[in-house]
Symmetry: D2
Subunit: 336 residues, 4 copies
């Protein structure tokens, strides 16, 4: 990996930075920006640090603003489209899991259109089913909800196959639904196994780092496991404190866990088949371009440390599960 | 406590139910409602279940809409005004803790006006310093921030004293600031001790139940401790899953913990000096009036069970720390 | 379910109650008890409340003490044998995942003997791979560890098939390994899918309730999902505060979650094919027999409430995801 | 701080490494070691890396083995004695909080003897009230328990004053009691304020890092706050994953948080009045001397990075709460 991993950026990092307490956002000066304007701001500020961009469909990118956005992108590409049902209040109680056929059909229709557009653009499709869940015990018919969820993912995967699109599934334990059904990597693998049983093998995993961190899922272990299963599809790089979905700058916390992830991505040859490092940041009160730039630079530093770890010595220590020898190697790479 | 505790309701339960993903809210039909309209809806739907209401200053109640709101309130009162700095993007990096004198002064000015209005209305003042914190390690000058925070609380308490207002401090560990400085009941007591050392004794605690639950703070213990210290000022009743600030209906989860709290409130004689049970709910996708009504009714059921616990037998069991005997009494009160 | 679910009890509830701080146990008077003595104490104290018992192999039940234990059991049966690698310091860095062939082979040999004994006794086999994990980042060769873990489970499942034994897999996120690889229900399903792909279908899930609770895994949802997948094998009933593996009495906390689980077990017809309610308790400082009895009685109360919920009305509410209507039904069943 | 902070080590790092599952320990070869033997092993292996040692009274150090231990210590000192009620099953339901006068008096008597010995040795006294709590809701008479706890701390502080000993209080949220009453730094400050009100000012705080980390208490903030209050007494250095009390090697995780702590300790002049860096490690399956040595060396590396941070530039960034500028300085110090 003498050359850097290619990168992408979720454009939502450049919005007004809304919270439930401040609907107008912590950065209200960006409230009126069109997607094209956000892209232009990002491209101007970040240049070659970011290779491509990611957009929610239809809220951020759709058939109507496509030309404008492309112009703003210049020679950058659309790397992923992302399902945006969670941005639409009609799906507040779920889309794919809804027992209301009209709502569910509409959720699928919108997602299919997103997939079609991804196909046209040569982009990947991310589905993060953050509204497919519930807020209360006793509120949900779990068995039916799960059947509907798997069925919907199956329809989406099939639609992706027709469109020549790779589908990345992304998990999270909570928010916006308090209990999201596909709540951890294990449940994501469960979904993938169910789809494989239907012959659908174009589905991989998008690892949103803070979603793992807030779940107690150790980044390096999961990257290695997903790579071994052939489903390590994409990364949403960020960091956080461990409980909420902070979407903080990469390497701000969870430094050692991020460093181990860099090592495991290297071991897995991540990037060789075109995989990228996506950035999913939400810089509430920070300069947005600055937060992205810091994240890229901090990742490069961390990845550089990973490159300096004596991996054959580390493998030998790991076979003995010798944490002391392992850390001696890690700190040596840090310069100790 | 043959008669029910008096109640109050935070009017924000009747808003559009915003999330960071849906700035227009899950219930956008309520987006345009004035506070008076929300009050009317609440009063019409809830009647005598709710005695008074609570409002953020100035976002929900201020000098300009006071007459309208009062008219809508009918014979219900304004029980608390709540500081609303967290609703104002100017204070995204903190108000009381800001090193920028202009911002800090403005935060204090607004809060003083809120206190003045509370004084005129005979209401209590709640300060929940949710924006007084930080999002990143290395971001804050902690020593200065703490000094400014304590100083600001002192100024507020002094202003309250002049206005004849009781100040309720409310803690939380996170959101909107990822790390809120006054993050647990212990730190709230620390603040109160610091203010007492300045001779300020008009400061009590508002226990937001879900803020305790998400902190691992056992409701009953803290109610008993705060009562013993003479600082059990107010309750914000709700429930949740244990990690986020769900603001769910009372008794939806944490049932046993809520039951024990009811018992400890009875032991403390809570309500005898006019204390009320405030409801702080955020029914994202539920009928708002219905969620409040359910909460009141579920509280009454739980409180009724607490009343049936044989307290002298329980005290005897507790002196031996005999959990088995204790639970036999509790389940007997439930009807087992 | 007019008749009660059959029950079983993990005999470890009757030991000296060790902690890492008190190796002799909080109840050192039980330190010298043989397994037969513990069984006799349990049978005498609990009678028909408990139908069968569960034992770790070889620490608690083995070829040598089998006759004694059977005599003590009287007409109670051995319902499960449990793998006990976590009780043996030789496997402190893992057994199935060990890169040391001698250690791994020994781990498998011991487990096979346990399975053989389970087969002879007509019992089920539980494997909770609590020592298959790691304590530090950088300590483990994840890819190899996972391959060895899946392979070992496959060998165990195959051995079970030959012995006519059903294998129950039990997850946990942490303790004794700080990071246990099969750390949640999703990862358990992943393992089961991998084994199914090898043609092994005699593997189901043992839901240890506190292991789910401390993981944020909502009991009712998972019971419904596992039942739908045909892998809801066994229950280890208990409760706790939500962070550690407290193994407290059933219904002491997580009351609503336990009630919802009771409802979902009823919906799934749990018990009709011989499934039981196992109790996995660790009453550190309580009377052991008393803690088990309380747990059974509290479960029966909770299950009785579940039976009174108007399920057709609830299903109707759930199809609308109407939490308010759902809770009205739940509280009505409680007697509100 | 051109010279290193002086250090101390809790001798329990050199024991058999017990868990509740393995009473004989993961390292049973150390099960029979006397304290003097452990000290000799530590002194031989660690030499000048560790200046002094810490011991629980009476389990590890007492009047009977004092001479032996002192001989083994050579020119190293006893830096702290630690209360050891949690090691004694008689206090399984609490010592200081017990309603049983005989038990409470015995708990106080033992603690007073520990203080006396600390006084003779010129050592500090640590009380970590880990058994002063409860396992269940409804189990405890909270008001009485808190009154007894504060009273006992008062008696201990008074006894310390007579003996010329500084008392360090150490908090934790859970384990061994599931709910420890003095569960966070805020509650520790509450206790200290209560004691100050009695005129007792010889009480400071021992920050056990993992106890803060598992509580979501950010190390740097609390060090700064405690220093500002004049109660930053001692450190128990370690690390962990964020949920349990892992007592892992320093700098294994929470790297950035530890780095910020190093910075704040420097800002506070920690060490200038003789404060030390104590190590509280529990290397379950690692070489014990090796784990301590790694911890010291990793701390020195981290502290060296802290020394390279441009503090005046950082202060300037912090006054603006500019996280981006802050991290640029931090990564520059790391060598980026």
């Amino acid at each position: 990996m003498s050359e850097q991993l290619k990168t992408s950026l979720g454009i939502w990092a450049l919005g007004p930075m809304v919270t439930r307490f401040v609907p107008g956002g912590y950065q209200p000066d960006h409230a009126g920006d069109t997607t094209a304007q956000k892209v232009r701001r990002a491209v101007d500020g970040l240049g070659d640090l970011i290779d491509g961009y990611e957009f929610h469909y239809p809220a951020e990118l759709n058939e109507d603003n496509l030309d404008q956005v492309r112009e703003a992108l210049g020679d950058h590409d659309v790397y992923c489209l992302c399902g945006g049902l969670h941005l639409d209040p009609r799906f507040g109680k779920g889309g794919f899991v809804s027992a209301d056929t009209a709502i569910r059909d509409e959720a699928l229709r919108i997602t299919f259109r997103a997939i079609d557009l991804a196909g046209e653009l040569g982009a990947n499709m991310i589905i993060w089913p953050g509204i497919e869940g519930y807020n209360y015990p006793f509120q949900s018919p779990y068995r039916d909800s799960w059947a509907r969820l798997i069925d919907a993912f199956g329809q989406c995967a099939q639609h992706c196959r027709k469109a020549g699109v790779t589908l990345f599934l992304e998990h999270k334990n909570s928010e916006p639904a308090m209990k999201i059904m596909m709540g951890n990597i294990g449940m994501t693998l469960h979904v993938i196994h169910k789809l494989r049983a239907q012959g659908l093998d174009n589905v991989k995993v998008n690892m949103d780092w803070q979603h793992l961190i807030m779940n107690g899922e150790n980044l390096g272990e999961y990257a290695a496991l997903l790579a071994a299963e052939g489903v390590l599809g994409h990364q949403h790089a960020n960091s956080g404190w461990g409980t909420f979905d902070d979407d903080n700058m990469v390497g701000a916390t969870a430094f050692m866990e991020t460093l181990e992830l860099a090592l495991e991505l290297r071991r897995a040859g991540y990037g060789r088949r075109g995989e990228r490092l996506g950035f999913d940041l939400y810089p509430y009160t920070e300069d947005q371009v600055g937060a992205v730039r810091r994240s890229v630079l901090q990742w490069r530093f961390i990845d550089g440390v990973a490159a300096r770890i004596d991996d054959s010595a580390l493998r030998e220590a790991q076979n003995r599960k010798d944490a002391i020898a392992a850390y001696e190697l890690v700190y040596a790479a840090l310069g100790a």
